[in-house]
Symmetry: D2
């Protein structure tokens, strides 16, 4: 990620500009505001604004007139109770707004989460920058043989070099032609293709940007799916950066999320039965479990 | 609206508790925070939190790194352009959280707007207060003869007195019985009915409370429908109070909303044709307009 | 539930009116269409329309041009896989529309699920019928002593009789006064209160009606919460009736839902550790579990 | 659009497979089901399923038990009333499911409408086909000089030829390299890049496919924005095809949509004042109108 001097100056100006407010303030989040957190080779995440903190979750749950006299330990307990019992509305009472720079193929996956507000940089209106995601050597993985939508071992030597060359060359050539098509020439009378058309030549690893705003409940849902080890690496690193940020913002809510969602496990009715039989000393196999092979493999992956 | 001394103290404590923030601050909204704005006889609206200001709308529209060097007048023009062309996503980038106390029959209408986050005081979990909406004399209106869902002239004399007596007496008696059913008695062994059942005896003019959070675009949509003269008076007064608050929060956005939505008019294709014919000097009647009688009546209501 | 002869005739007319279609047809659901399934004392659920079947879920998951040559057993396996891995979008491709008659206090809980389309009978526009929910004797429960939002033992004898009398009498009196306030009298010049005002006198056990349309994924979410033993009885019976209907509509999807959601268990990270220690032979207590007392009580409720 | 013989056979099999249903049937829509309507060079729209018809809109608005005895003309009048007064919930009671094949850059614009259900063909899981959108000669437009997000005159001669060559060659080369990176080679030990990575090399004019399901109210909102002359041509042709389909499905609702939305005009409060002054004989100019120059230009575009 290389910010221009102008962008750095704009970020510093925002961080220098403090004011008084009567609203709930999260000290951890104030430390994060505006700063560009690098992700992938040219991507970033910046917190632009936030609403609420751990206490605000509890106030909403109690529909209270003020902060009350509850201790922090009570709030932590209440938050764990709300998370455990899927009371989602108090978590919806916090909101966060990010500025994200990300490759288009990641953006396409990301946007499938519909419960957020999005304002994307428009390639119909503006010209995109010459910035493309090129995987680092350790992320250049082969197709998985077990999992149709996963990665296997890392490419090596010549094959790796060739892939990187192709990605780089195709990106550069496509961008050259994009620029070429766009640019009018008064000498020759060349007009310059409409931006809304020229953009179709750009590959999916070009970077785009958006403002993305979401409430805490729906953010947790996004993070549970995208910070999961089965999520594609290129979106997972964004989710992990957001996890770090949320931990600073609402420490108690994040702790509960980590315990009940990220680190939690969903058991089917069949799986509950198998575990109960095991706890009673029975030796259960896939054949006697009632599960399919695929299901048993996933179950055994957690429970042995 | 009668706040308890404890509630007043809690509100004052919140207004006394100022802190530094790097976020966008709206001076007009800081002046509104936490204060209870009275609505109807016992209702209220309080701003609990907000995110963003006029400038934040423009920053989101530009997906920018900083505040830029744009003048306020540029921002105002951009906001008007966005509103005029139904570019809704930048307005979604502002958010507000209200604490509202309102009669249940108003809450039932209000909740039909689904694009908001709600946390309501639970009558399953807690006991409601003895507070009921009783219309003031000038709002005690007869059924409209023209409009199936509207009001006509105001009731007078004995009829008005009788209606007010019935509403008051039924409310008090229902609440007495609610309390009676709920209260256990160790002497007699009386158990006390479950709160989730006892609540069914309470009429729709009892007050409830909720935290309600919504983005600015969807709030404008709510206000356009509910601050409209055809909306029921009892919800319109809440909408009007919110209009005053939003005007202080995002003055440019509110001005654009007022011009293009609240004070605007939607013309059908037929209505456009009629106006063009009139501008060309033709005398158009309902018969020659192609409109139905009902449509023509509404059209003539605006254009004569 | 007492339908009028007109309503019965209308339902029979709809069930008699068969036509040809090229769309996916679910035989189980055709058997349910239009028929009034009774719920509570005066409530009902009717299926008005549906879209899709088990096969349609699989076609959407495959984004296919046709039905393909997949066997039913393949479809069942795919549906289980999608459910297990929280791939929700294929389930969103089925839709169902219900006509529901339900007490207002149940409707207020129900409407908190926002991901549905609702069209409610308007008491602003029309006059409601004199129909109120009065609990049956076995549902007249005392407040739970352990659970703030639950029921304890059933009321008996005099207390039960008194509660039923109060509910019945207050409902009838409120309705008498509602009618009285509404009714104009040309002899005396009495005007009749506006319907939008008179309705405020009606208690929360009066019945309302709505058309409610939702996709299968969001319906499953609703059913998981509302068919749960902790849900209030008066909404749970509606959820259970819908479960029976959905089972007839999409048998494979319902089976997967029953195994992975209804009969499933969510384990926190802490709970996973405790179970692993138990499976390894350790005797874990609340003190050594890292769980709070409340959490341990819930854990022990499932696992002993 | 070139369908494979297998796809044609699948579509014909679906159209040959008629069954009885008790549900509302729209004859116009039955004629559309499954058939591939071509859009652009390789795109298509197919109706996969639908729920409801004009009558169903009215039944929902009336929350009725049956079809009632209302005449079609009454239904048409009610539908126009509902549309005119922004009563959106009855229109939400109809639903439609499309299969759409479209270029990725169109899909990216389309997906910004969040109130729909989407299931997209996964390039993480599967290999995309070698199909790219190449504009026809009459759509190869230059950047507009007035409108930052619009098109100007059509490119001619050599420039046009060069642009088409670049688009075609870059598409083919990118796809060659995509295939090359993907393909393992057991002889050389070449592994084959993961599909979730290789896809990043593909440009935005490659075709993707999805199932897209939406209710009628939200579809009308989509069509109003995307069938508008200011929408980009490549998405507008999809919207226009859907307009034709919806007209066959719900003729009365479409007629009302056409009159009040597509052919309608929104006037600001300022514009209402100007028109009233003009009707009163005054000669209003931009200077005396209170409008900005841009606003006046748009106003004069409609009203002269």
């Amino acid at each position: 990620m290389a910010l221009t001097p102008e962008q750095i100056a704009e970020i510093e100006a925002q961080r220098a500009n403090s004011a008084q407010t009567l609203r709930a303030v999260s000290p951890g989040m104030e430390g994060r505001l505006y700063t560009a957190h690098p992700v992938l080779d040219h991507g970033l995440i910046r917190v632009i604004d936030y609403m609420g903190d751990d206490e605000a979750i509890c106030q909403a749950a109690r529909v209270s007139y003020g902060k009350g006299t509850k201790a922090v330990s009570d709030d932590r307990g209440l938050i764990r109770y709300l998370m455990r019992h899927w009371h989602s509305t108090p978590f919806e009472m916090c909101e966060v707004k990010f500025h994200v720079k990300l490759p288009v193929f990641v953006a396409r996956q990301w946007i499938r989460h519909r419960t957020a507000n999005v304002n994307e940089y428009s390639a119909r209106y503006s010209i995109l920058d010459r910035e493309f995601y090129i995987p680092s050597a350790d992320q250049l993985a082969a197709q998985s043989k077990q999992n149709n939508q996963g990665r296997g071992e890392v490419l090596q030597g010549e094959e790796a070099a060739r892939v990187l060359d192709l990605l780089r060359e195709d990106a550069m050539r496509s961008y050259d032609h994009y620029e070429d098509m766009l640019t009018p020439d008064t000498d020759t009378g060349k007009l310059g293709l409409a931006r809304e058309l020229a953009r179709m030549n750009l590959p999916a690893n070009i970077y785009t940007q958006w403002y993305w705003k979401i409430d805490l409940h729906n953010l947790f849902h996004f993070l549970r799916l995208r910070a999961d080890p089965h999520a594609q690496y290129e979106i997972r690193v964004y989710a992990e950066t957001m996890c770090d940020i949320v931990k600073d913002w609402v420490p108690s809510a994040y702790e509960a999320f980590e315990d009940y969602r990220l680190g939690g496990v969903n058991l089917s009715g069949k799986a509950v039965e198998v575990l109960k039989r095991r706890l009673a000393g029975e030796d259960v196999t896939q054949e006697t479990s009632g599960m399919s092979k695929g299901e048993w493999r996933e179950f055994a992956g957690v429970w042995g």
